[in-house]
């Protein structure tokens, strides 16, 4: 059991810290206020190769593991930024990498690695199918050498910042299926050619998230853009879940560390009743408690990441990491806000922004309730509750 990062992992952490140092609080605050996309930040990470970390070397990336990728995202959040703006460029291609044909991989991956193509949108959720993915209604019907797609999606992030999108659609009607996890397929949609066939409606959210409602009407996709086999798309999506959960856990840990650092600093500086507020146990204990929870979650995160990189089963650890880390971050967010008193609500302290942002991680990409349902059923052997 070795709890230390390798020299290379440590170097990755330091390099990301350095790059993030170019994009300070004011940068993120301004982007948040204007509901902009942090293009300069994403471009910088791209040109330095960080978003191609998970793409194998033969396709132009660096072939690193989830452990390293998670360190990259953690450091972005820890610096005060938000990794959600670009994390999907890192891992959405995983579905293509695992299930795409050699031809598809050669066509897209090198360009994704080089940043010429952005693939950072994945259309799964629908108004009538949130947590229950197998209920999606968007349909793709085969017409000769193409599929024609109709339907509606919601909360589909970064569609306007992507060239390609992966789309989950139904290829067999629900009622005709014995196994309800079958009948869904994943398509590579070239958004540059989809004009007029997909209406993109940006959603106004509590956080700056570039997420949209999509209305898809007669979108034609060449049959060669079907990913893997028809009908097993749900399986492909599940395959990506563990990676995503570990990465999201790392982002939460980055947030948590940011909150704890800021809270401890402010607690030492702010003088009330003639002494630093940090001298009060009511202030320091919640921060210390949050710190301990984050450190504990971090161990599960690295355990999950290590198992993932060794190609061992890690569903339980990946889910637990996401659960524990997102909750620890939320606890830290609250401790940080309490510590800052009224100033926590002032945008210029950045606490309220990070507070809003970190709350998402308990809900999306999967709600923690569903994580608990997974643990209860698949790890503890209790009945399926949903």
């Amino acid at each position: 059991m070795d709890f230390n990062l390798t020299q290379e992992q440590q170097q990755i952490r330091e390099e990301i810290r350095r790059v993030c140092g170019e994009f300070r609080d004011a940068y993120w605050r301004d982007i948040d206020k204007k509901r902009d996309y942090p293009d300069a930040f994403v471009r910088r990470l791209t040109e330095l190769g960080w978003l191609a970390a998970l793409i194998p070397e033969e396709y132009g990336g660096s072939g690193l593991g989830i452990t390293e990728a998670s360190i990259i995202l953690e450091e972005i959040n820890r610096s005060g930024g938000s990794a959600t703006v670009c994390h999907a460029q890192m891992y959405t291609m995983g579905t293509l990498l695992r299930h795409g044909s050699e031809e598809q991989k050669r066509r897209y991956l090198p360009k994704i690695a080089g940043g010429e193509l952005r693939l950072q949108a994945f259309g799964v959720t629908e108004p009538n199918a949130g947590s229950e993915t197998t209920r999606i209604e968007t349909t793709a019907s085969r017409r000769g050498d193409r599929y024609v797609i109709h339907g509606q999606k919601i909360f589909i992030s970064r569609v306007l910042q992507s060239d390609l999108m992966l789309l989950l659609a139904r290829t067999t009607p629900y009622d005709e299926l014995k196994d309800k996890t079958q009948g869904l397929s994943v398509f590579i949609v070239d958004l540059r050619e989809a004009k007029g066939k997909i209406e993109v409606k940006p959603l106004d959210l509590m956080i700056n998230h570039h997420t949209n409602a999509l209305f898809i009407d007669g979108l034609e996709v060449p049959a060669e853009n079907l990913l893997g086999q028809e009908g097993v798309g749900f399986r492909y999506i599940i395959d990506g879940w563990n990676a995503e959960r570990i990465l999201v856990a790392a982002e939460a840990i980055g947030d948590g560390r940011w909150f704890v650092e800021r809270a401890a600093k402010y607690a030492n500086e702010r003088i009330v009743f003639g002494r630093p507020i940090g001298a009060n146990q009511g202030i320091q204990f919640p921060i210390a408690q949050a710190y301990a929870r984050i450190e504990a979650a971090d161990l599960v995160r690295f355990q999950a990441a290590t198992k993932f990189d060794r190609k061992e089963r890690c569903g339980a650890e990946a889910n637990m990491a996401k659960l524990l880390a997102s909750e620890a971050a939320w606890e830290a967010a609250n401790a940080c806000l309490t510590t800052h008193g009224g100033y926590g609500f002032a945008a210029e302290y950045d606490v309220e922004r990070k507070f809003r942002e970190t709350r998402l991680l308990t809900v999306a990409p999967v709600s923690n309730n569903l994580v608990l349902a997974y643990l209860a059923q698949h790890v503890l052997g209790m009945p399926k509750s949903y």
Binding site: Q7, E8, Q11, I12, E15, R18, V19, E47, L48, G49, W50, A52, A53, E57, S62, G63, L64
Partner: protein, 259 residues
């Protein structure tokens, strides 16, 4: 063209420097290290030159085991290979001893150009570059704020107090660069990955044919007698504005011959 960049690896900027009272040397063991930003600028020039003219950049560092971090960083930035002079017998060398070791290592390699920082950001002696040139018998071009190579000719703009001089020489030569010469690049992720596979040659003092009379504490001719703090700054002059504040400030600046 073959470029050798002499790059010092120094205690990281986050470290509070401590002086060992016995040796009067900076405490280097056990503190985090990084590539000297001044050396990173020298390396950046080397990289730009070989990107333009072809060739290879070798990084040359004398230092303790912790220097590996900085050497890896230089390799990740794009240096082709590295040489690490790593030997307890070299510890405590003065500037001349350091220059002898570096020059001896340079002699083992084919080179057209040696690039150094004008001075290292930890000890600021500023003499090693000139000493190396002397030992190698090549021309030193110092304080370069711009370098251009054309065939066998090298041309620099030498920073002066009032502007710059244009200085030209034949290769092989040595150039020392000012810290503002460029903005050193960050390593790319691919560079970090590639650095793992690059060679770091290691030499001891004996490999360089240098004995205890030339290098290390025993070979040092320079002795640090005392190390002290600069005198505390005097309190500033306070001017209360009673209508003539502007005038008083102007007089004060005039006294200092600033205006």
């Amino acid at each position: 063209m073959n470029v050798i960049v002499c790059a010092k690896v120094i205690p990281a900027s986050s470290v509070t420097i401590e002086i060992d009272p016995a040796t009067k040397c900076m405490v280097r063991k056990g503190v985090p290290h990084e590539l000297d930003p001044a050396a990173a600028s020298a390396l950046e020039e080397g990289l730009r030159l070989v990107e333009k003219h072809g060739g290879a950049v070798t990084v040359l560092t004398m230092g303790i085991g912790d220097a590996t971090v900085g050497i890896r960083n230089a390799l990740a930035m794009g240096a082709t290979s590295a040489i690490h002079l790593f030997d307890d017998a070299l510890a405590g060398s003065d500037t001349l001893g350091t220059a002898k070791a570096l020059a001896a290592a340079i002699k083992k390699e084919p080179f057209d150009l040696v690039i150094c920082a004008s001075e290292a950001s930890d000890s600021y002696s500023g003499v090693v570059a000139g000493q190396i040139a002397q030992l190698l018998g090549i021309v030193p071009l110092t304080f370069a704020k711009e370098i251009a190579v054309d065939g066998k000719k090298i041309n620099i703009k030498r920073q002066s107090e009032t502007g710059y001089d244009v200085v030209e020489a034949e290769l092989p030569a040595l150039v020392s660069v000012t810290s503002g010469i460029n903005e050193p690049r960050y390593p790319q992720l691919k560079g970090i990955m590639a650095a793992k596979k690059k060679e770091i040659k290691k030499y001891t003092a004996a490999d360089l044919g240098l004995g205890p009379d030339q290098v290390g504490a025993s070979g040092a001719r320079e002795k640090v007698l005392t190390v002290g703090r600069p005198p505390a700054r005097q309190a500033g002059k306070k001017i209360t504005d009673e209508g003539d504040g502007g005038k008083q400030i102007a007089n004060f600046l005039a006294e200092l011959k600033i205006i």
